[in-house]
């Protein structure tokens, strides 16, 4: 696993990584803030070495940027500092052969060996899962860095847990889930503002964000100038 440190949580988070020769990190476009001189950057429309154009197009549809940057260290102890565009938190998830399903805009960086698949439609069929939210399936072994708007909190589910769909950052695919109404009555759920929620059950890790970007947007949006 790569040596890393997450600084300035939870609002202005950045990840400071130390890469050794041969270690490679794939990051979303625009994430790099600063890096040592012996790191080389390859930008490609596809996963380094494999993946193909089709996969890249699927990533585009998923809301992730078309281009991925692969950072490779050419010398020992190279530092790479990455961060997201907006205020928010970052969390590290170590993947050890399992799979993590990540909300489209929350994927920030992962070890280049991790497979990124943006074709997962598990929750996508539910239009209720949020305005234009897409999901990215990450599997393999390595480090995964996720970002959010809001603070990220971890819930190790063992049984059942309920999350408002706009607050899901990522979850292990060992968890079963279903979209359900928040309360006992559908009308009550809708009027109570909660609407539809995601009920997870089983055992696995779930990452949630404290704030919901569309809700903030709804407050701010009407006050902005129309273009």
């Amino acid at each position: 696993m790569t040596q890393y440190e997450i600084l300035a949580r939870p609002a202005a988070s950045v990840v400071k990584m130390t890469l050794q020769p041969g270690e490679s990190m794939t990051c979303e476009s625009g994430a790099m803030i600063a890096m040592s001189s012996e790191i080389t950057v390859e930008t490609s429309a596809r996963k380094r070495g494999a993946g193909g154009l089709k996969r890249a197009l699927k990533r585009l549809v998923a809301g992730e940027n078309f281009f991925l940057n692969h950072f490779v260290a050419g010398a020992p102890n190279q530092t790479l500092i990455i961060g997201p565009g907006l205020l928010g938190d970052i969390v590290h998830h170590p993947l050890t052969g399992g799979t993590l399903v990540v909300q489209g805009s929350s994927w920030m960086a992962s070890s280049t060996d991790i497979d990124i698949d943006a074709t997962w439609q598990g929750l996508g069929k539910a239009i209720f899962s949020g305005e234009g939210v897409f999901w990215v399936k990450c599997s393999g072994t390595g480090d995964l860095f996720l970002n959010s708007f809001g603070a990220i909190y971890t819930v190790d589910v063992d049984g059942e847990y309920v999350v408002d769909t706009g607050h899901i950052v990522a979850f292990e695919d060992t968890l079963q889930f279903r979209i359900a109404k928040a309360g006992k009555s559908l009308l009550g759920s809708l009027l109570g503002g909660e609407g539809l929620v995601c009920r997870f059950h089983g055992r696995g890790r779930l990452y949630c964000q404290s704030h919901n970007p569309p809700n903030f947007g709804k407050l701010l949006g009407p006050k902005l100038k129309t273009r």
Binding site: G183, G192, G193, E194, C208, Q209, L220
Partner: protein, 218 residues
């Protein structure tokens, strides 16, 4: 019922550990996540007419959700904007909250609508304010960090930065300086609060964010 405000002051949330018999009331859409055994019931915010009034005048949600738990469970409550949350325990006393500040309360608290006066309206602090009274804890939040000030005589607060104040504090709107400086200083109108009492302020204002964003939109 154990509660904790986490991630202060930028992304504050209220983390509630519930047991059978515990009840908490929160504005609509405040729930971020909860244990599966926490149930919620939707209620009009104080009754049909009062709810409408609160929606129109106080920017509060039409409905509130009352949460209870069959066993032991947790509930995470949040607000739409990033910022701080404060918790106050009411013991028969009251507090005035600015529109949009209310987040959650215990069942013994009453949410009423109070007339804030034209002075408040001129200062763009709203024509009405939410009056919380009764017994129990209330949680309120704001965009930005929240800090409290005990004021004795007169205290000047910039418009858009007032979150809550005790009823013993009176509000008067005035200009920051003379006409010229009020206009060009960017401060404009301010609220002149007269104590004694406690005033809660927020370190950022939505109006400033909107103005900044609008300036960058072209």
């Amino acid at each position: 019922m154990e509660t904790e405000i986490r991630n202060k002051p930028s992304f504050a949330i209220v983390h509630v550990d519930m047991e059978p018999g515990d009840r908490i009331i929160a504005e609509a859409d405040a729930m971020a996540s909860m244990s599966a055994n926490v149930a919620l019931r939707c209620r009009w915010n104080g009754g049909f007419l009062r709810a409408i009034a609160k929606r129109i005048f106080c920017n509060e949600t039409l409905f509130v959700n009352q949460y209870h738990c069959a066993g032991e469970g947790e509930l995470v409550l949040t607000q739409p904007f990033p910022g701080d949350i404060e918790c106050i325990e009411l013991k028969g006393n009251s507090l005035y909250l600015q529109p949009g500040a209310f987040l959650a309360c215990e069942p013994g608290v009453r949410l009423g609508l109070g007339w804030a006066g034209f002075a408040s309206w001129l200062g763009r602090e709203g024509l009405f304010r939410l009056k919380v009274s009764g017994t129990g804890r209330i949680w309120f939040g704001a965009y930005g960090g929240i800090f409290a000030r005990e004021i004795d005589h007169e205290y000047v607060v910039d418009t858009g930065h007032l979150v809550a104040y005790e009823p013993s504090v009176s509000l008067r709107v005035g200009m920051a300086g003379g006409i010229f400086s009020s206009f060009f200083s960017g401060e404009g109108l301010v609220s002149r609060m007269r104590g004694p009492g406690r005033v809660y302020l927020q370190s950022r204002s939505m109006e400033s964010l909107v103005a900044w964003t609008n300036a960058h939109l072209h």
